[in-house]
Amino acid sequence: MVNRWPMLLAVAGALLFGAWWLLGGDGELKKIERQSDHLVAAMHKTPGNGLLGLATRASEIAGFFSRQARITPGEPLPAINSREELMGLAAHTLQAVSTLEVKILDRELNWVRPNEQAAMRLAVEIVAQAQGERQKLLYTYDVTWVREEERWVIASAQVCESIRRPGTSGQ
């Protein structure tokens, strides 16, 4: 009787390896994905957050960006050219809304320079409530991640829409 277990285990191992590879097995890319998850979580606001808590939160959000980060967040927010500007905008935005929820709908992440720079296309849904009005917005961003002091941070982010209104530049 032929022992088929080694063959079956080899096939199962190959399938599992393929699944791991397809689902993104690179450790550093996974770290960048987790950073983007943490950034999105830091943006959440629920009713009852005090001013001190919001200031801390704004500082925490700014910490995900490099010192000279350049960000084009999309209308109606202005372009940002440094981490300090971002912190101010984040604090202002968190104060202006009563609730804020950001959800990652999809993302694509690739190396530009392996282990040094990565490019991410990120689609997010932002649900904000302010002055009794609830708004849901969809944005897609091109985000550049770089390694700074052993942490992955955002060097630049700009709106990049696959469906753009006539008269605007989506990329």
Partner: protein
């Protein structure tokens, strides 16, 4: 001799059953990932044609051999491969599109839209669609154009249509 419940669950040859299950799982994943992704509709931009919260089956093979045509539903890439915009093609490459009091005009001529229901007051000055672009929009024209995700999209960002 295997217990009855084991035979019922795994069949008479559990190793073969396991291998078949693994192969089937991988095949289903590849089919769903690269050919026919299940699509959960979130949003009202395609009402009443496609309802919010319903499930459909995408078809990434639909436009591999031909170009999208006016009136066809298309999936437009957002970022990766999991989320898409679901829109309808209104204008083709090289055409001029306009809206006047909700009426679609292509190259200066009124274009009937039999799939629409309800009133629309969309207004858009004549806009030329680029050589590698399409103009897409949802069917829910009750939403003002400014609040609706509609406009020009590159051919490369149209990744498929719907199977049903």
């Amino acid at each position: 001799m295997l217990p009855t419940w084991t035979i019922w669950l795994w069949g008479r040859k559990p190793r073969v059953t396991l291998l078949r299950a693994l192969v089937l799982g991988v095949l289903l994943y590849l089919l769903g990932r690269f050919a026919f992704p299940p699509v959960h509709v979130a949003g009202q931009s395609m009402e009443p044609t496609i309802h919010d919260g319903t499930w459909r089956l995408g078809n990434k093979l639909k436009f591999l051999q031909r170009e999208p045509q006016r009136g066809e539903l298309v999936m437009v890439r957002m970022a990766g491969w999991r989320a898409f915009y679901l829109k309808r093609v209104l204008a083709l490459p090289g055409e001029t599109i306009a809206f006047s009091k909700g009426m679609l005009q292509i190259n200066g001529r009124a274009q009937p839209e039999p799939y629409l229901q309800g009133e629309s007051n969309w207004s858009l000055p004549a806009t030329r669609v680029g050589a590698d672009e399409y103009f897409v929009a949802g069917d829910n024209r009750a939403v003002p154009l400014a609040a609706h995700k509609a406009g020009l999209t590159r051919r490369a960002d149209i990744v498929g249509g719907l199977l049903w």
